[in-house]
């Protein structure tokens, strides 16, 4: 994902001299290195100084530029939180805060590098928009959109590397709209971000059980596609949310709230990270499993044996 982000951003920056990238001491991978060598005046490394990363982006945007702040998600959103809130959101500036390696992708780095609550935190701030692509192709779509939009600030939640392509048969990507990646009629899986891969594996298990499954990428987490989610609730007997985020303030909580609002009659199961930190180490799937997020565990919980 980060390579695709860098490539898409490089393409946008080539065409638009107002695009700046402000990074906080993160090694430039892929085309980010090309960006920094070709446009050194628009590639700023603040060092380990994330508050100034956000403030500088705000200053650039106040002068009409279209800046991207880029570092590991915990450091791009949590560390400079008040700058994100006051400088970007309160002033409603078109700055993209890129959270790379969000969720628990930095698995063995420990809890200081996990971003488990970012959707709730970013989503609570007025004016903030949230985009969380599920594969590299969605990253490209989202990055192009972020580089051109003037609505206000965006939190762009990215994975890291090696994510599979999930969307080649999907509908066109439209900001603010659920994106159907697979159409079925019995079960609907709502998901977003890197963990979306799990939805496809689960859908195959349902298929083996004779059930057809819809999969939607909820890539825009704010503003949430309320109408799209309500339609999904009404058109399926069983709705499943899979998300790499704590239970509060994410897709699971908001879907259940909408289901209550419209008195939805379908069965709803939600699978999220839990409301506790992870202190064990291992690979990325080990982190998810520690909170019950594996295809096997979910399959068992939804009665697939």
């Amino acid at each position: 994902m980060r390579n695709m982000f860098a490539e898409a951003l490089y393409r946008e920056a080539t065409a638009n001299p107002n695009i700046y990238v402000v990074v906080a001491d993160i090694s430039p991978v892929g085309n980010m290195a090309k960006f920094s060598s070709e446009y050194p005046e628009r590639f700023i490394n603040v060092g380990v100084a994330e508050q100034s990363m956000i403030g500088i982006c705000a200053g650039l945007a106040l002068k009409g530029c279209q800046p991207f702040a880029y570092t590991i998600a915990t450091f791009s959103l949590y560390r400079p939180f008040e700058m994100v809130r006051d400088d970007l959101c309160y002033q409603n500036l078109p700055v993209t805060v890129v959270g790379m390696g969000a969720g628990v992708i930095y698995s063995d780095h420990g809890g200081t590098h996990h971003t488990m609550e970012d959707i709730a935190i970013a989503g609570a701030i007025p004016n903030m928009q949230i985009v969380a692509p599920c594969d590299p192709a969605e990253v490209a779509e989202a990055t192009h959109w972020c580089a051109r939009q003037k609505n206000g600030p965006v939190y762009l939640r990215l994975g890291k590397s090696g994510e599979p392509d999930l969307t080649k048969d999907g509908e066109p990507w439209v900001f603010g709209k659920l994106r159907c990646l697979r159409r079925g009629s019995d079960v609907c899986i709502l998901t977003y971000g890197v963990i979306s891969k799990m939805a496809f594996e689960l859908a195959d298990r349902f298929a083996a059980d004779g059930k057809s499954v819809s999969i939607f990428s909820c890539h825009t987490m704010k503003p949430l596609d309320r109408d799209g989610i309500i339609a999904a609730l009404q058109h399926h007997d069983h709705l499943i949310v899979i998300e790499e985020h704590v239970p509060q303030g994410g897709l699971a909580a908001q879907t259940k709230q909408l289901a209550w609002d419209v008195q939805a009659r379908c069965r709803i199961d939600t699978f999220t990270l839990q409301d506790r930190f992870i202190h064990n180490f291992g690979r990325y799937p080990d982190m998810l499993s520690a909170h019950g997020l594996s295809v096997a565990a979910i399959a068992q919980r939804v009665g697939l044996g």
Binding site: Y20, Q51, I56
Partner: protein
């Protein structure tokens, strides 16, 4: 575009500053509290930036930017913007009222206000980003920023100090309103190891001058005579509440309005001052 280089009339500046203090006193009678001491502390600095240093086009606009990083001092900016026609008398009369557009801290979107401030330690990073954007233009604008000395305790301010000089942003002219007074006392006592300030900024690669922050000529000369090539910091030694004896260096006047008797005494002092 004009800038009265080497032609800053300090007599006129003193007259303006007296007028501004008087206007702020009048507004203080409309509201239970306002940051009067903080505004009086940086009156001469802000006046000099606006009327001595910032260039002005024929239509009154400026290629330069003023940023009140110490947002709580914004009463002085409001009264200058009123005099310059960007804000109206009705705007100032509506200060902190539901119908008005001016609050205790400057809000982005208000005419003449470059950024929303009020939370301390945000202004210099935004100034740094603005200066960076200006640098790509043919005739880069200069960013004039005013910081409080309390604000210099914020780590984020030092991140911006480091970046501004690392990026060699010589189109930043900042001032620290060094009035040495915070809620809990003299800053030079509570944080004595922080002083002197001049060599701290110099150590981070800034050009620095220290002046009497109530001396218009000294402020103007220090800025116009800077060598350039790097960001410039004016360490302005000031008195909180300057101009009204009972307010000077008394912490309660950080945020309080005078009662009618105090108001009259303040007016008398301002009008009889040399």
């Amino acid at each position: 575009m004009t800038r009265p280089d080497n032609n800053f009339d300090t007599q006129l500046a003193r007259g303006r500053c007296r007028r501004y203090r008087r206007r702020i006193l009048d507004i203080s009678q409309q509201v239970p509290a306002l940051h009067i001491g903080s505004a009086y502390s940086c009156t001469e600095i802000v006046d000099c930036f606006y009327h001595g240093l910032m260039r002005r086009d024929a239509d009154g606009s400026s290629p330069d930017t003023f940023l009140m990083s110490k947002g709580h001092g914004c009463m002085i900016q409001y009264v200058i913007l009123e005099e310059n026609g960007l804000l109206s008398r009705a705007d100032l009369d509506g200060y902190c009222t539901p119908e008005g557009q001016l609050g205790v801290h400057p809000d982005y979107g208000t005419p003449g206000i470059a950024a929303a401030t009020g939370s301390l330690g945000h202004g210099l990073s935004m100034a740094c980003g603005m200066a960076l954007a200006e640098r790509s233009r043919k005739d880069p604008g200069i960013i004039y920023a005013v910081l409080s000395d309390g604000e210099v305790q914020e780590g984020s301010t030092w991140e911006a100090v480091l970046m501004s000089s690392s990026l060699r942003l010589d189109n930043i002219v900042a001032a620290v309103d060094n009035n040495d007074l915070q809620s809990l006392g003299r800053t030079s006592v509570t944080h004595h190891s922080f002083y002197p300030l001049v060599d701290k900024f110099q150590a981070f690669g800034w050009e620095v001058a220290e002046v009497d922050g109530h001396d218009p000529a000294a402020i103007f000369d220090a800025v116009v005579n800077r060598r350039g090539g790097r960001p410039f910091m004016l360490v302005a030694k000031t008195t909180k509440g300057k101009g009204v004896s009972y307010m000077e260096n008394v912490p309660i006047w950080h945020y309080r309005s005078p009662n009618p008797d105090e108001y009259r005494r303040a007016i008398d002092e301002l009008e009889t001052a040399p």
